[in-house]
């Protein structure tokens, strides 16, 4: 088991591509994108059901070595900055450290 950080970014679907590109540039070795049904925040309540087009949000989860956190957050923040969404970080441990 190896120390890691788990970063969870909730972001608008149209920005997903830009975010994951930025993550890759920041040297992230992997991430997972989860669909989101709906949520609520400063911009109000919304639900996925009945959205048209590419709207909606996704959750991008990323496990990384602790020392890479700052780089990642910087890169992610640059993308997310002016957009709707949140970034949460938790301490984690991972198996299969050869992957990170």
């Amino acid at each position: 088991m190896h120390k890691a950080k788990r970063v969870e970014i909730i972001i608008e679907a149209p920005m997903e591509g830009r975010l994951t590109q930025a993550l890759e540039k920041a040297g992230v070795t992997g991430f997972t994108v989860l669909p989101v049904f709906g949520g609520s925040g400063r911009s109000g309540r919304w639900t996925r059901e009945g959205q048209v087009g590419r709207s909606g949000m996704v959750a991008v989860v990323c496990l990384i070595r602790p020392e890479r956190l700052d780089g990642l957050l910087e890169a992610a923040y640059a993308v997310v900055e002016r957009h709707i969404g949140v970034i949460g970080v938790t301490d984690a441990e991972v198996l299969r450290a050869e992957r990170f």
Partner: protein, 325 residues
């Protein structure tokens, strides 16, 4: 005038409009009736494919009308120009910040393909013919408005992202444009023999699918209206009702100059008077992220779309008939 009223009431009592009303009612009454996102997207793919293909077959049948290039050019110009009119109106009628006004303007320069699909079915129902290439014109009108909006935003102090190649690719190759143009070309190449193969799928069930799709649009629009409290001032609301008329006026002028058929003029009015709620909102989230999506989505989906469906379409058909016939 009487014609308009007769058409309007005939239009009001079609299953399509009533389905839309049912959706509106269900959403406003907070019924849990929902159409799954995947099914709604599936229906929209069906409708786009069908309308594109039929347009292509029509052009294949009647020969490539020389005016197609002129019509495409006119569509592009309309899409570029209308945002300026919309922006000016917004500055007159509302106190929206520059960025919001520019974003809204982009929506009105672009088009609502569902409004177009519904209008095509109404035009056909009234026995009129329209140029098959109108679907290509619709596709051509989707994107140019975005450029005008970004120009307006930067010109008047708003903060727009740089339009990078990536964003351009996304806009020009957005799903509905690719599908519409692709189906149009497939219809053009395969013509009547192709139509014979898939007619039972794309022609006969079309109006029924449109009903269920408009039910979903009603649900979406109704949810939008429910979220609208506080978002829409009276001025903004008035804009949402006036702008489609202004846009349709542009469309009428362009249609007359181009010498389109009566049905074609009506469709161009519908296109010019309609507001995007698929392609442009996504583009705005990337290019003008500071603009408030509730404003433009509520306006285009909750105000202008129902207005066009119920009043605009029959009115423009009547106007085109009066002017053309």
């Amino acid at each position: 005038m009487q014609d308009i009223l007769a058409l309007a009431s005939a239009n009001l009592l079609t299953p399509m409009i009533l389905c839309f009303a049912l959706g509106l009612f269900a959403a406003l009454a907070r019924s849990e009736l929902t159409i799954p996102e995947a099914v709604a997207k599936g229906m929209s793919i069906y409708l786009l494919f069908s309308i594109g293909f039929k347009g292509g077959v029509a052009v294949a049948d009647h020969g490539m009308d020389g005016r197609i290039v002129a019509a495409l050019a006119a569509g592009i110009v309309l899409s570029f120009v209308i945002p300026f009119a919309a922006f000016a109106l917004l500055k007159l009628m509302t106190r929206l910040p520059v960025t919001d006004a520019a974003a809204v303007a982009a929506h009105y320069g672009s088009i609502s393909i569902v409004t177009f699909v519904t209008a095509s079915s109404v035009v056909q129902g009234t026995g009129l013919k329209a140029e098959g290439y109108m679907v290509a014109v619709a596709a051509a009108m989707e994107a140019p408005a975005i450029i005008s909006a970004l120009f307006l935003a930067s010109r008047f102090g708003g903060r727009a992202e740089k339009m990078d190649a990536e964003l351009w690719r996304e806009i020009l190759l957005n799903g509905s444009i690719v599908l519409l143009v692709g189906a149009f070309l497939i219809g053009l190449v395969t013509g009547e023999p192709g139509m014979a193969r898939i007619e039972a799928f794309i022609v006969a069930p079309f109006q029924g699918v449109l009903c269920l799709f408009l039910l979903d649009m009603g649900l979406v629009a109704g949810r939008g209206m429910r979220n609208a409290k506080g978002v829409l001032t009276l001025g903004v609301l008035a804009f949402g009702l006036l702008m489609p008329v202004v846009g349709a006026g542009f469309g009428l002028a362009a249609g007359m100059i181009l010498g389109l058929s009566t049905g074609g003029v009506a469709l161009l009015m519908v296109l010019a008077g309609s507001a995007s709620y698929i392609a442009v909102p996504a583009a705005m989230r990337v290019a003008l992220p500071d603009a408030n999506p509730s404003i433009y989505l509520t306006l285009s989906l909750g105000v202008t779309f129902p207005f066009n469906l119920v009043i605009g379409i029959p009115a423009w058909v009547a106007v085109a008939t009066a002017v053309g016939g």
